[in-house]
Amino acid sequence: MKRKQLTAAFMVLTMAAATMMGCAKDAQTSKTTTDGGKEIREYTAFFAVPGNEINDDNEIQQMIAEITGAKVKETWLTGQTAEEAVGTLIAGGEYPDFICGSDGTAQLYDAGALVALDDYLDDYPNIKNFFTEEEWDKLRQSDGHIYWIPQFNNSYGENIETTHNDEAFWIQTRVLKWAGYPKITTMDEYFDLIERYNEANPTMEDGTANIPYTILCDDWRYFCLENAPLFLDGYANDGSCIVDPKTEKVIDYNMTPTAKRYFQKLNEEFHKGIVDPESFTQIYDEYIAKLSTGRVLGMIDQWWNFAYTVNDALKQQGLEDQGCNYVPLPITIEKGVQNNWHTSGDTLNVGSGLSISVDCKDVEGALQFVNDLLSEEVIRLRHWGVKDVDYLVGDDGLFYRTDEMRMEAANTAYKASHLCTYSYFPTYTGMSQDGINACKPEIQPLEFLSGLPKNVQECLEAYGCKTYVDMIGTNPIPGPWYPIYSFVGTMTTATEGGTAWTKIGELKHEYLPKVVMATDFEEAWTEYQEVYNGCNPQSFLDEVQAEVDRRIEVSKQSAQ
């Protein structure tokens, strides 16, 4: 009897201990050892943006680990919004070592999940030199500290722009070619061209029916539907509202006459069968699959949202020869309105960046890794790959790739097993430190040109353009507030304006598709207008105006 009791008690204790052990956190950063006997520090990272995971035994990642003594296991957003993922992390209270909150960055800061970086910066020259003192100051939060490092749009040396990375009306080159490369500058001309082309060529070469125009409307990606009125009126991409560069006043683009005309046009095209009837119910994956078949003639989108996946798919399927690649057009609402789809120069998005979480056991080591990632050698590995395998060096020192190399770089399996860009860690763009080559193949002028699909080359030539950007022209950054979306992204329901903003977003998700599909447009528009005004949009605009004023003031002060 006694023994049995003892056994029972012992078992209970073991179970309890096992449970406790399971809960205890690793006190140390995990480490592995390489073949060469070098110790590799391992970190975890979560980026609240969609991305592709690479294989654990990725070759370039291993090379970078040999150089830097560290590697990072990256995970990405899947099937939720950034705020949802970040909110769940905060509720759980456990964070990975590195984190990029994207639209949820403000929540992470509010929850005290991030490490203040400003005290460390001086020890890491590559990070320190990544921004100017003035730029670092822009990143200071309400408590005066710096918590994140924006990763993008930072040119080392000359800024080279070949692709229009942002939003535009895109059109397949086959449509333009068929029409003899006409000059298309207004929304009406754009839809008219698509209509005429589709009437003359209702199918692709293999008989698949064309989809003349599709709209992605999936969750946070519904910018493909909603913010065109801002661009149609010739303003730069401030995202959530217009900031008039002349008056420095915030304007709501949702209810402008242009907005009404744009949605009315979509409504007409919807009933003509030009707008894809599945537009408002398709999810992102379905949309990308559609574009990858080459069936879609045109759409509004951000280049980064479709091009990387879709262009590679078109290349692999040989659809480039059918003219299925997309080029941007300088569309505005009326002739004479100066388009502003592309802004030149580095746009510093102060709203989010790479952070280190309070759960990171080795902040110095983590920052050392970020620092090392910015060295010339590693940047080359990240973007160009391995010499003689992924690129060749000409006698003049210029890097170039063969067609096979370009094909490999577009191959999904190869990307996972070989390439490792650490794409959400800070990186340079523009010219690299050797002064001859660009940081990335896609902006190396010669490499860009020879890497372009034939149909795009032909199209650019016909318009007398050298790059995608030339198709729509370029404009300077409108003012020191730009882009104001970096502020709006941080708004939450904690303020009145933030609540209005969230409500408006919810409302537009529901009503904009309704308006486009409505049989009686006027009636649907009036209803939308009424509900819209019930959300108190003014409070949102006021808060944004205050931020615009603040940013202008800050820039005036630092100019003195």
Binding site: K4, Q5, A8, V12, G79, T81, E83, E84, V86, G87, T88, I90, A91, G93, G104, Q107, D110, A111, G112, A113, C217, D218, Y222, P277, E278, F280, T281, Q282, I283, E286, T492, T493, A494, T502, E506, H509, E510, L512, P513, K514, M517
Partner: protein
Amino acid sequence: MSIAVSGKVKTKMPTDLKGKEKNRKITWKEVKKQKVLLFLSSLFVLYGIIFCYLPLVGWLMAFQNYKPKEGFFHSQFIGLSKFVQLFSDDLFIRVIRNTLAMGAINLVATFLTAIIFAILLNEIKSKKGKKVVQTISYLPHFLSWIIVTGILHDALSGTGIVNDLLVRFHLLKEPINFFAYPKYFWGIVAFANVWKETGWNAIIYLSAITGIDPSLYEAAAIDGAGRWGRIKHITLPGIKPTIIILLLMNIGNVLNAGFEVQYLLGNGLVKSVSQTIDIYVLKWGISQGDYSLGTAAGIFKSMVSIILIVVANQMAKRAGEERLF
């Protein structure tokens, strides 16, 4: 649910052991005699306390202006204002309606189909055929919702198989995009639930049917009862206790109308009918960092569930049927 179960474990053992004398007091001697049993059962009680009751401390959040940085101890108390905010929000009222409606439709649909399916399956004479049908029918249970919604999305899209068939058989002139109209949404969700869970839910009824004394069927057959008569007078009364217990348990779950299905199948156009309380909590609580609001909505949901289960249980008691407690 788990509350009810752990409560049961706690009290059941003494009642069973009491035997004939109902008012006998529990003496120390008896406690000593049964210490092993008590010790073992205390583990389950402990489990209930740790995993079902301790987390309730988190409910404090609903009465605070909770900030993760400040934690429970330093967040400011604001009383019931989060609840006031919740109930003055039209959206929340609509979300409750959606949750109740979809919960009820799902409950009725899955419940009826499972019973009917189990009875039909039981009538199959060929043992092999029965096994094959049963295995195939419960396979969807093991698919995750993301896969099921993916299949549905494909099948019901404008170019999907359903529209293809309907148009080819001239039942429709033009394909309908089923996900674009609010009127189809609840039906689609109910169908998804039925397809996924019928086979699985039928298992428990099938086993209950197996437990019915075969001599009853023989006797009924001799008395001239046909198939329908045997189902009506023997099978159904035989599984009635199972039906009622399961119904009671499911009623408590009505507000768990689902999260994944609606989240994955929903889109802007059907938003007004697709959002459930769980989605509301995610959208306005977790993703906006307003954890207090999310908790308040969660408390409301639990309260309604408890009320529903108690009421249903009382009704079963009145009707003299099996009940949970």
